[in-house]
Symmetry: C2
Subunit: 690 residues, 2 copies
């Protein structure tokens, strides 16, 4: 045991002594041991090595005062170029241990989200599309991209169309004589937009356009075309391309727009793995059903959604580290003359600790899910997935369509609470929380607007209802829906806790969530059945079952899966203390989530009377209170190092006031008189002289 502890001290440095020791000494568990348990020793070492590499490069030194918009954009681009050179962050190196991609993603999104997106788009998505949609003739683009000779972006969304991908209006018309495609944007609403990297740095673009041959439309197809000259970055004639301008966040990333004025590109630009046009203008595809071809062409996007739940957790962990460390140091009021840390207050605990629990549960899910996703990708590339069939991909799609929205909503709410619980000082840019919120905000929208995307999850679940009625065995590759096999029994269960303390037991929480999912599935299905079966009615039916039904169903289902994965991890705990604190986290997240659905328990007859409400409320408050002494050590486990956290309120030394003083004093306009001071001297008098 002593050997084990010494080893951990070697790979995880001690945190500086200071005001946070008050809580750190109270922790019920060994935070280094928990970190190694959750992340694995290999990943902790990998992350340490990545941190060392990053710290060597001055371009990654955080700077609170970024200068102008253009300075920030430039710096962000240089960061992107530099970390393309860090070997440990390269895909092939990440794939040595499939827990690495999530670890790398977390670190880079916490340090430089804009450059990380540029990297994801230019290096992963662009080459991924070439691999999945292109053929031999496109391979050289991937090589040039790896050699940083070109930069490729991904253009799907148009100004007038985002979520409804089929409605895109950019056309690629085949010209038989010239043997080329002619790209055209009918108007600005059809301009491609939002593509990351398109604004300033892209030389090539993957473009989704409606294929037209001889006046016949063949639907959306994928093309790879040059847009700017890589030698001088000047756009080609026929291409109007530019930057979308300042955004709420992520301003290091150059999101762009792109329009075509009868722009001609040779026939080979069509990414022709799933459909081709011959020189003579004949359309060839193995897909008979255009819907399936359309689906296949959007396949590369699902990785984004899997990752985004991780991105949200990365942002949430940062914000909670800041807010909880601040809460452990900031004192205000007290029973006598002595003031107490604000973390001691019930309200403060209730505002933050459930989100801390949610972050743990989410991180645990992501660790599993991102690894699973990359495993599936590798298996697909190496042909190891012949016996699995498409079910795994479909289940990953269904889960990620729900986990991405839920993660986004949870973490945005967490970040907002962190901002508010840090009071006025949380409103300083130097607190870091404003940037975290502004950057995280985009996750609710890109790669599928949350409210639209989550319909994919409920649609998938609704298909199980007939099987449930027939008591058929339901077994999905990731086992997320297996419990539905007992759907009818679950539906007949009732709230059975007689004492408050029973409620927090994992089996009771799981029973309650399972009832919730099955009940909402039954009700949602019944709502849908009420509508006529014609296309128009069904279109509106799908829309009119969302609020209170389909969306809540999807959310409850994902909550159930989060809890299930957490329980599997708890059962492997290396010691009793760790098991105990993780169980509290599990129970708090579970009950706090269930609480939002309490009305459904009453409505559906699962419970009546005050007990269920009282029990849940009391247990949520108790668990918050039980976890408050562990809260600082719990954030130490998930916190990035200080150079990445970059917050005056959240530094691991807990010296909030010293850090504030230093940050405020060194800010550029802190103590110098403004250059325009003469404008404010005796204004009235001067004005009368005008």
């Amino acid at each position: 045991m002593r050997v084990f502890v010494r080893k951990m001290s070697q790979i995880i440095p001690d945190l500086p002594e200071g005001p946070l020791d008050f809580y750190r000494k109270k922790a019920s568990f060994d935070w280094k041991k928990l970190k190694v348990f959750l992340d694995t020793e290999e990943i902790v070492k990998y992350q340490n090595d990545v941190h060392k590499e990053l710290q060597k490069l001055s371009i990654f030194k955080p700077n609170i005062h970024e200068g102008t918009f253009d300075d920030f954009r430039h710096k962000s681009t240089m960061q992107y170029l530099h970390y393309g050179d860090i070997d440990l962050l390269k895909m092939e190196n990440q794939f040595e241990d499939l827990k690495r991609p999530y670890a790398a993603l977390r670190t880079m999104f916490q340090l430089t989200p804009s450059s990380q997106i540029k990297h994801s788009v230019g290096d992963n998505l662009f080459t991924g599309v070439i691999r999945t949609m292109g053929t031999e003739r496109h391979q050289h683009y991937a090589d040039d991209s790896a050699d940083a000779k070109i930069f490729g972006c991904f253009c799907l969304t148009e100004i007038g169309h985002g979520t409804n991908t089929k409605g895109m209006r950019t056309t690629a018309t085949y010209d038989k004589k010239k043997k080329c495609f002619v790209f055209h944007s009918p108007d600005f609403a059809a301009a491609k937009c939002w593509a990351g990297g398109l604004g300033q740095v892209a030389t090539h673009a993957v473009v989704f356009a409606q294929l037209v041959i001889d006046g016949t439309q063949y639907g959306l197809h994928t093309f790879l075309i040059p847009i700017r000259n890589p030698e001088d970055m000047v756009p080609f004639s026929g291409v109007t391309v530019g930057d979308m301008g300042e955004k709420i966040g992520l301003n290091g990333l150059d999101n762009g727009f792109l329009m075509f004025d009868n722009y001609e590109v040779s026939r080979e630009c069509l990414l022709n793995k799933i459909a081709d046009v011959t020189e003579e203008g004949e359309y060839v595809t193995p897909f008979r059903d255009p819907k399936k071809r359309h689906g296949a062409s959007l396949g590369p996007l699902s990785g984004g959604r899997v990752n985004i739940a991780g991105v949200c957790e990365a942002f949430g962990s940062k914000a909670l580290t800041i807010a909880l460390r601040y809460a452990g140091v900031r004192k205000q009021f007290g029973p006598g003359d002595e003031e107490v840390p604000i973390l001691e207050y019930q309200t403060h605990q209730h505002r933050l600790i459930p989100y801390l629990a949610a972050t743990y549960v989410l991180k645990n899910f992501n660790t599993f899910f991102v690894e699973k996703f990359f495993q599936m990708q590798l298996d697909s590339i190496f042909g190891n997935n012949k016996n699995i069939g498409p079910d795994l991909g479909i289940e990953i799609h269904a889960i990620s369509s729900g986990s991405k929205p839920l993660a986004g909503w949870l973490m945005m709410a967490a970040i907002q609470q962190c901002r508010e619980t840090c009071g006025g000082h949380g409103y300083l840019k130097a607190s870091g929380i404003g940037d975290i919120r502004n950057d995280c905000d985009a996750n609710l929208t890109y790669e599928g607007e949350n409210h639209v995307l989550i319909q994919q999850t409920s649609n998938w679940l609704l298909k199980f209802w007939p099987q449930i009625l027939k008591r058929e065995k339901i077994a999905t590759p990731l086992e997320s829906a297996n419990f539905l096999s007992n759907g009818l029994d679950i539906l007949n269960s009732k709230f059975s806790c007689r004492a408050e303390e029973e409620l927090r037991r994992p089996e009771n929480i799981m029973s309650m969530v399972q009832w919730l999912v099955v009940y909402l599935l039954k009700e949602t299905h019944a709502k849908l059945e009420n509508f006529p079966k014609d296309e128009t009615s069904q279109f509106w039916a799908k829309n009119n079952i969302q609020v209170y039904y389909a969306k809540d169903l999807a959310v409850a289902f994902i909550e159930h899966y989060f809890l299930k994965k957490m329980l599997e991890t708890i059962n492997q705990s290396p010691d009793g203390n760790i098991k105990h604190v993780l169980e509290r986290i599990f129970s708090l997240y579970g009950l706090w989530s269930l609480q939002k659905h309490t009305t459904v328990f009453y409505k559906g007859g699962y419970a009546s009377g005050p007990n269920i409400t009282d029990f849940i409320q009391n247990q949520v408050l108790k668990l918050c209170s039980e976890l408050k002494d562990d809260a600082i050590s719990l954030v130490d486990v998930i916190a990035p190092p200080d150079f990445i956290l970059n917050s005056v309120l959240g530094h691991s030394n807990g010296e909030v006031y010293k850090n504030l003083q230093s940050a405020i004093f060194r800010s550029p306009h802190a103590m110098s008189r403004p250059s325009w001071w003469q404008d404010i001297v005796n204004w009235k008098y001067k004005k009368s002289k005008l």
Copy 2:
């Protein structure tokens, strides 16, 4: 009738024709008539005149691209100086009609929040403190301030203490020999901070410091001291003052910090209306109880809270105007080939329309409440309030301590929904929503952190419980708590709606909210009674009844008052159409708010079974759907003119795509190659040469 309509067209210009006509033509009411009804003809004219004045001055032209932090700060300061010259905005002019202050506040917070705060602090709060706390010897400061010879700020908060005002550590020690006060800050945690205008423009400061005479502490007192030389803006020796640096929002405002190093100021700097120190160092005060003196010295702050609920509404109205106009124009998906506006979707309606209803209810409350507050102030100045006594002030304090937090939470949530429902384009800075969110965010914190402040409301309500038990008549000046007279009968009432349609009736909604308030009052009181009566226990008791009890009680009470005031307005509707749409707004806000408390109805035995949940949910969705064709005209009523709204998505012409094109094309870095383009050409090759 025709004459009336023509008159309204004269004072309210028509909105431009365009894509929004689709919904504008469907509206069930005359939007101009509703505007005149809610605002009064006088206020509409007043606002028009203010708009005209503002448009004459180029400094108020909005600019999406503000340049550097310092440029923005400078511009904001110049705006402040200029609008001090707009006669209509002067206090004496506003007081001609007590509906004007809210109208002016709304406009200025929507146009230039940073300069408005500078104005509120420097021109209203500073002079207000002189009037209420100072004596004849301080009057010349108010005159100099009005003449813009000096600028005064208000320094209460310290780096280490905000909400707990009694914990402030800056000292003012009387030196009998020199007959002066010596100001001193023991360390940076005791630095005054966050004061608006202190960072760069203040020459004088109202400073709260612990008074010390001969080693004896006399508690917090208020001083008015010079800090910078008004001739050259250089700080006086012994004063360290500066700007706090970049913030999440409101960056036009120079929030500052202030430290003293044994800084001497003559004895007259004490604002000596409620306590004085004689030349010989004798302490004189008419207040025997230091707590009461402390309370009196913080009196001038309550106006801020009354106004902030209005500020939140001003921000929320802007965001909802943007999001709803966008929702009326943006099309995506549809049952056939034709796409439908996203406002047609149930989810979209449910995400936005309840917040629109909340904004109407809040605006109606503010119109009443701000006027009432200023009336009380005027009565106090002119001595007209002798027969009212302190009860009105106490009730205004209790209500504003709850309405400020509730307004802030509601409107921040509304703004976030607006950001998300505008999808990717809502993430553009040009949408305006990011700045609205960042600026509004501060309302949750300043002038009393929301969760701490709202305890004042529940504390006030708890005092009524013994009266309720004795069935005593409860009558408060603003009648907010009068219904508690029947508390015991209300507590015995049960949910009695037999049909869904009954639920939306005002009398049913009011009954439900009243039951909720009384039940939560009873339960909160019972919780409190469980604790021992010693000081320490009571301190923790007050903290440990907040979640689920005291806070929910305060929220429900304020919701009730919002609804009561709305009902009074509805009853004066000028025509049936207006009455009808306002009733829907009332019912939607009421039921949507009640929905958040549904669990309490079950728990408290007010209802059981599925009806109450089903009825509320169905009615909320129905009301959203019934209001969707009115939504555009409803935002037209509360929208600021386009030059103030300043949003590419929210312009009243509805030409979203044209406006987007124009904004994106003219943004500074849109189509020019970045100055650093050579850095991104052939990066790998260049790096290998290094």
